[in-house]
């Protein structure tokens, strides 16, 4: 899922303080699962903002709604009828949702309510960690199912570097060395000799470096 974290209330206040009719929009997907931008978080943020403005003696309208997804036309359309009643929207979706809404409702300021962090997994309740950077050409088959792009601090394709210590990365004792994981996994799979195959230089044009990306599927296109 896409993992995000809540922005501090102070930062949001700074962005919205000049508006009077604000809609807080949550998203029922990833950000709900990682407890950053679902219905519950919408309610908490809206309540906090209402109190803040009331305390400032400002009369503002603050409404709440949570959509199934904010990265799909279908669900974003659900607020078409009401969007004109507001002079700003705080979207608690990931950066994708915020932008998609802004594209759709071109004349309304759409402000982010979360910091979008990475694509990751829920390691345990309250702990999420990165697993993939969407490099556009997955090589997990070669690396024992562990991603060197997202799990090695130097995204080495032929690691580990000389800083790997007791399973930890040189940059942080609390971070596992991605290459230690790769080696452990290759060993488990009985493929340790594959370690000596030199990984070829990566074509980064399918990654961010190649410019904004797009997937077009003619077979499913309408």
């Amino acid at each position: 899922m896409i993992v995000a974290k809540k922005k501090p209330v102070e930062e949001i206040i700074e962005e919205v303080k000049n508006y009077e009719k604000i809609l807080v929009v949550g998203c029922n997907e990833c950000v709900t699962v990682c407890e950053a931008g679902g219905k519950k978080e919408v309610a908490v943020l809206a309540s906090a903002l209402r109190m803040y403005f009331m305390n400032q003696g400002k009369d503002i309208r603050l409404d709440e709604v949570t959509l199934e997804r904010q990265c799909d036309h279908e669900y974003l359309e659900e607020i078409r009828n009401i969007i004109d009643q507001y002079d700003a929207v705080i979207s608690l979706a990931c950066g994708v949702g915020v932008q998609f809404m802004a594209e759709k409702y071109f004349s309304t300021p759409i402000l982010p309510g979360v910091d979008t962090c990475f694509m990751g997994a829920a390691e345990e309740r309250g702990v999420w960690s990165e697993r993939c950077q969407g490099c556009g050409h997955c090589i997990l088959a070669r690396t024992g199912g562990i991603c060197p792009v997202s799990r090695c601090a130097k995204r080495l394709f032929n690691g580990p570097c000389g800083g790997s210590t007791k399973g930890h990365c040189e940059i942080d004792k609390d971070l596992v060395c991605g290459w230690q994981l790769i080696i452990d996994r290759l060993k488990e799979l009985g493929r340790l000799e594959d370690y000596e195959i030199i990984a070829p230089i990566k074509d980064w044009s399918t990654e961010r470096a190649g410019g904004p990306r797009k997937v077009v599927r003619e077979d499913v296109r309408q």
């Binding site: 209330v9 206040i13 519950k40 908490v44 906090a48 109190m51 803040y52 009331m54 305390n55 003696g57």
Partner: protein, 117 residues
């Protein structure tokens, strides 16, 4: 044993403090409550394992939010009291009442009145 405690508080009964969510506390303040104390079982003695630990973390969150919007985080406080400690409960309520009186009323209540006037 019947003990008297300040009459300006309202008691809301819940099966477990683990039921208290951040939004419940915020709503109370939005509606004008001057303070809230969450009284749970002793830590380690929760009937639902760790309801009171979760409550403590949520209370911490609410305190932060109230601080950042200028209402004052100290208006919320978590206590752990066992059911056999009625005198301690009374003491806590008195202590909380005093603290709230010294902090003054919830600014939201004042703002609401101002608006109504």
């Amino acid at each position: 044993m019947r003990l008297r405690y300040p009459s300006n508080i309202r008691i809301i009964l819940l099966p477990c403090t683990g039921k208290v969510d951040v939004i419940h506390l915020l709503r109370a303040f939005e509606k004008g409550a001057d303070g809230a104390c969450i009284v749970g079982c002793l830590e380690g003695e929760c009937h639902y394992n760790n309801g009171n630990i979760r409550a403590r973390k949520r209370v911490e969150q609410v305190r932060q939010i109230l601080d950042s919007i200028g209402i004052g985080g100290e208006r919320v406080q978590m206590y752990n009291v066992s059911s056999s400690e009625a005198p301690r409960f009374v003491k806590i309520v008195e202590e909380m009442t005093e603290k709230i009186i010294s902090m003054g009323p919830n600014p939201i209540k004042i703002a609401r009145k101002r608006k109504a006037a």
